[in-house]
Symmetry: C2
Subunit: 360 residues, 2 copies
């Protein structure tokens, strides 16, 4: 793992001159893991052309030294941002880049105060995130494993559905199955929604029991070797009425259209539009209340966004979800979601569970 991490830090700093910065603050755990391998939860990484320094508190000194190679580890005095500011004040860095979406107003105040007037603060957003969008072969292999694991869990969970089971019991089984298969945990709070509750795209499991003739939405993801997966399947408890069959078919067709559109070079907004157009053909587009998908990797939501009007073009190495859905209060919801890797000449669906309507 060591050499690729050096290379990632090198790729990051190679562009510092264009960005007119000589140091960059990295405050998000996913970003510092990507650049250093550190798995702890607290600290700040400072990357300069000369090297990398991690400032953290006493809880993480031992772990920081054990996990990072070629990174200086320093224990903070006072708050981490005071210590980072003081470190920069005493360093040669004069133009320090930061991401305005990842630093609070209060943190920037602390940094400015501690660093003093000689340090200038330069907005340098999304620099690590844009490297992270293009997954390398090792990352793709890991994401494939995480996706396959999620597909196995969703299939084994569907086998457990029976009238009377509670949403939270199904949620517990899902996360237990993930961990038994080696996942470090769920990538997000597992969604289990029965019946009318399926109309809430982000329903958390409750004590509701599964009734006959109800929709079931299962949306789950696993973290395996630090990489996330994300899959949704919708099943029907009983024989689905005609309207549900039509809606399910429309969502499935919308998903297939978006997957087909997700080619290297395609604009993300066009992938979103591909799903939306199919649903419009069924006059269901007004029930599709969220975007078609999102990037996936060390975090469950990352760049690129697959949403209306997004001009960003897909590149080889991008991994995105494709997850159209329709939702109607009083009826429920239907969503089908898979994870897709974009390659130079082809698109690879990483998740492998069947997508046809399952009636139990």
């Amino acid at each position: 793992m060591r050499a690729p991490l050096h290379r990632r830090r090198h790729n990051l700093t190679a562009d510092f001159r264009n960005a007119k910065i000589d140091a960059l603050l990295i405050t998000s755990p996913a970003n510092w893991y990507y650049l250093t391998g550190f798995t702890g939860e607290s600290g700040t990484l400072i990357v300069t052309g000369k090297g990398a320094t991690f400032i953290t508190d006493g809880r993480f000194m031992e772990q920081g030294r054990a996990e990072m190679s070629g990174v200086r580890v320093i224990q903070q005095k006072g708050s981490v941002f005071e210590s980072v500011g003081q470190f920069l004040r005493d360093s040669r860095s004069r133009r320090v880049g930061f991401d305005a979406s990842q630093i609070t107003v209060g943190q920037l105040q602390s940094l400015r105060k501690a660093a003093g007037a000689r340090v200038r603060w330069i907005s340098a957003p999304g620099r690590v995130e844009s490297l992270r969008m293009r997954k390398d072969a090792t990352e793709l292999a890991q994401m494939r494993r995480a996706a396959i694991l999620a597909g196995e869990v969703v299939q084994s969970t569907i086998g457990l559905l029976k009238p009377g089971i509670r949403e939270f019991e199904v949620g517990a089984e899902i996360e237990y199955q993930m961990r038994k298969r080696g996942a470090s945990g769920p990538a997000f709070e597992t969604i289990v929604a029965f019946g009318e509750r399926a109309a809430l795209p982000h329903a958390r499991p409750t004590a509701k029991r599964l009734g006959k003739n109800e929709l079931v939405v299962l949306d789950l993801g696993a973290i395996l070797g630090h990489y996330c997966s994300d899959i949704t399947r919708t099943v029907y408890m009983g024989r689905a009425p005609k309207r549900i069959r039509i809606w399910y078919g429309a969502v499935l067709e919308a998903q297939a259209a978006a997957i087909a559109a997700a080619k290297s070079g395609a604009a993300c907004g066009d992938v979103d539009a591909a799903a939306r157009q199919v649903l419009a053909g069924y006059r269901l587009d007004h029930l599709f209340v969220h975007s078609t998908g999102h990037g996936l990797g060390l975090e469950v939501h990352e760049d690129p966004r697959v949403a209306r009007g997004q001009k960003k073009r897909l590149e080889p190495g991008n991994v995105i979800t494709i997850e159209p859905g329709v939702y109607s209060a009083g009826i429920g919801g239907i969503r089908i979601e898979d994870d897709v890797a974009v390659h130079a000449g082809r698109t690879e669906v990483l998740t492998r569970a069947p997508r046809n309507l399952i009636e139990i």
Copy 2:
């Protein structure tokens, strides 16, 4: 649940005149749940003396209307902060409070731009958090249940420990047990650390197998009815050597001293010092690399902080953890943690698992 939420919003706005604000932005899920009962993950709550408005995206409109009473729910156009800014521009609010520790530099830029020059942005930190520190009887009852659940899980998990079991298997069992007992999930990433890995205060479960003559640190918490618990127990696989017994006894004595010091009116820094002084008597204070505890409630880390030099005085209704520990690379670590509620005339330990050294 409705009336207490109205009262909480009233308590919040009652102080707006002193704070010289006529509206307050609430951007943290725990804060908006506390004030409105909304359990969704995205949006912004705006509270004024005249009422409350929640601005969110399409995914949460249905849920927002179902869960909140007396709160206007508006769907955002563009980003939520653009919509909030536009809403404020068109409102009568001219002095809008925000928490600099909860708003990013980028979000404040969006807000300022959309709200225009007539809206002034006033730093108003921690206003909901300071209400949340004083738990009412209903909250305390819920926290008692969450704490008892965590104690049951830690005890049943200790019963499963045997040589050869992997850290992540124990982690999976812990979270499964939580959910089976009704928890909505873990309050934080469960810590399971065997042997030398116990020297890392925040070790995540790995594939490491439990060996004979190793320490085991289990640190877990459950979310039950939205409230968090947090407990740590350290056990020894085998007959503990003399040094481990002495260290364990020192940590237990430090914890007892801090619990005894955690009385209404005591400064949090003095509670921390009580633990530290006991460890200093054993010449172990240099191995105690974190603070003694933290507030607990809707979030697993909230005010007050029980750390060196903290002047904040404990009040009835505060719930804090007391969790001294010692850590040494190559040997391992020992931590004992319980949750404590402060009342007017007494201190209540909410977690109920035995604290003596267990040798398996």
